[in-house]
Each structure stands twice: as C-alpha cells, then as structure tokens.
Amino acid sequence: MDGEGGTVAPQILLVLVLFAVFAGILFAMWLFGVMTTT
C-alpha cells in the first residue's frame, strides 16, 4: 500500500497518548480533591 497509516503519524500519536495519560491522572487527582473535601 502507500505506507501512510492515516492522518496522524505514529510518533506524534505516541506523544499524544502520553499526554492523555498525564492529563487523565491530573484530572482524577483534582476531581478526587474536590469530591472529598466539600
């Protein structure tokens, strides 16, 4: 085939995945803080 996987290169997608994991963890820590102190 043409060798192009799609619209986002796998290297960029890997960085985005790591960013999503960190964003998810930070959001959960914030949410836990909000829910348990009110």
Binding site: E4, G5, G6, T7, A23, G24, F27, M29, M35, T36
Partner: protein, 231 residues
C-alpha cells in the same frame, strides 16, 4: 470482483481519521483518570480501616470517606467503558496502539497491590508491625500485575520498525495470511493483465487526443486490444 472488494476493505481497515484519534485519546485519558480514582478512593477507604458502609436502615459503624461512595462505582464502570473505547479505536489505528489498552491490567493490579503492600508493611495510625491481612493480597495483586506485564513487554518491538503503524513487524499473522491470499487470487484471475489492458487503452486515448490517430483508428485499435486480451 470479490478480490478487488477485499483489497479495498483491507486498505480502508488500516486507515483512520482525526475523529478516531480523538476518541482513542479520550479513551486513554478516561482510563488513566479512572485508574487514578480507584487508587485514591481505595486509599481513602483503607484509611478508615478497609471497610465502610453508607445508606440503608442500618446502624453504620464506619461511614465511607466523603466522595468515595460516588467515585468508586463511577470510576470502575467509567474505566471499563474507557478501556472498551480505547481498545476499539486503537485496533482501527493499528500497530502497537491497539494493544496499549492491555497495559491497564498491570497498571490496575500493580497500583492497587502497592496500596495493600504499603498499608500492610507500614500500617497507618497506632498499629505496629506487619498487617498480614493486607500484605498477602498485596503480594497476590503484584504477581497478577507483573506476570502479564512481562508478557506484554516484547510487543514494544513494534516501535523499532520504520515507525509506521503499517510496518511489516506490526502486521499480525492474520493480515499476512490475507495479503498472501490476495496476491494468489490476483495472479489466478489475471489481474495484472487487466492493468496492462487499461494502460494500453489509456495510451491509445492519449494518441487520439494528440491527433496522432483518428477516431476510427482509435476504435479499431481499441477493439483489437480488448479482443486480444479476452484470449
């Protein structure tokens, strides 16, 4: 004809758009968030002794830490949903991204196992010594998390190829089999000969456009080409 349909299907199967990538990232972020919430909620419950209750017509000895009654079930079901989303979209993206969601299993058991180990070895409050009731589940959880993780690690080789999601190393055996199947089908049905026919016709049409041959000559040549390819 079904060979061509299968070629198209196979090609489109490895393609993905920005929406797929966005949903995949939402699944990954949701999974990370839910795992973190389970981890934090578990610690909060363990801080009050490991057991708690809420609601119902009962005399409750230990109330649950505020927020955990809602957060724990929401994060468990949210985590399952996020894992399904990430697995679904990841398999469309292909390469190592489909299998990435499997890391959620070791992440869950190693992190929760850590909670058990920490509270078992260094119990909070005035308790002293080792709490075996927490240490044993901790060891079991760590084994359940670390053993599959060791099995998952070799899949990182998928990143050592050309870096493309369609790199040969990332091809599963099923894809390889389908590809071999397609090539043999194409040979059987004289697919290459059809390509040749199309390029001959295209060349003839170009000659006619340039005025090198007349329309009558073109028609005659065309029927000769088509008749010749029918065998």
């Amino acid at each position: 004809m079904d060979t061509i349909a299968r070629v198209n299907e196979w090609g489109s199967g490895s393609r993905y758009g920005l929406v797929d990538v966005a949903l995949y990232l939402i699944g990954i972020a949701g999974l990370a968030a839910c795992l973190t919430l389970v981890f934090l909620s578990m610690r909060a419950v363990m801080d009050v002794g490991g057991f708690c209750a809420e609601g119902g017509p009962y005399e409750i000895q230990t109330h649950c830490p505020e927020g955990t009654v809602l957060l724990l079930p929401v994060s468990i079901f949210g985590g399952l949903g996020s894992a399904a989303l990430a697995g679904w979209k990841g398999s469309q993206i292909g390469g190592p991204f489909g299998g990435l969601v499997a890391l959620a299993w070791p992440a869950l058991f190693i992190s929760l196992g850590w909670n058990f180990l920490e509270y078992g070895l260094w119990p909070p409050g005035d308790e002293a010594g080792i709490v075996w009731g927490w240490l044993i589940p901790g060891i079991v959880f760590e084994v359940m998390g670390i053993v599959p993780l060791i099995g998952l690690l070799p899949s990182r080789r998928a990143f050592d190829g050309t870096g493309s999601a369609d790199a040969p190393v990332a091809l599963t055996s099923a894809r390889k089999r389908l590809l071999n199947d397609l090539v043999s089908h194409a040979h059987e049905r004289g697919w290459g000969a059809q390509e040749d026919l199309v390029s001959k016709l295209e060349r003839l049409a170009t000659l006619r456009e340039r005025g090198a041959i007349t329309s009558d000559e073109f028609e005659a040549a065309k029927s000769a080409v088509i008749g010749g390819s029918r065998r």
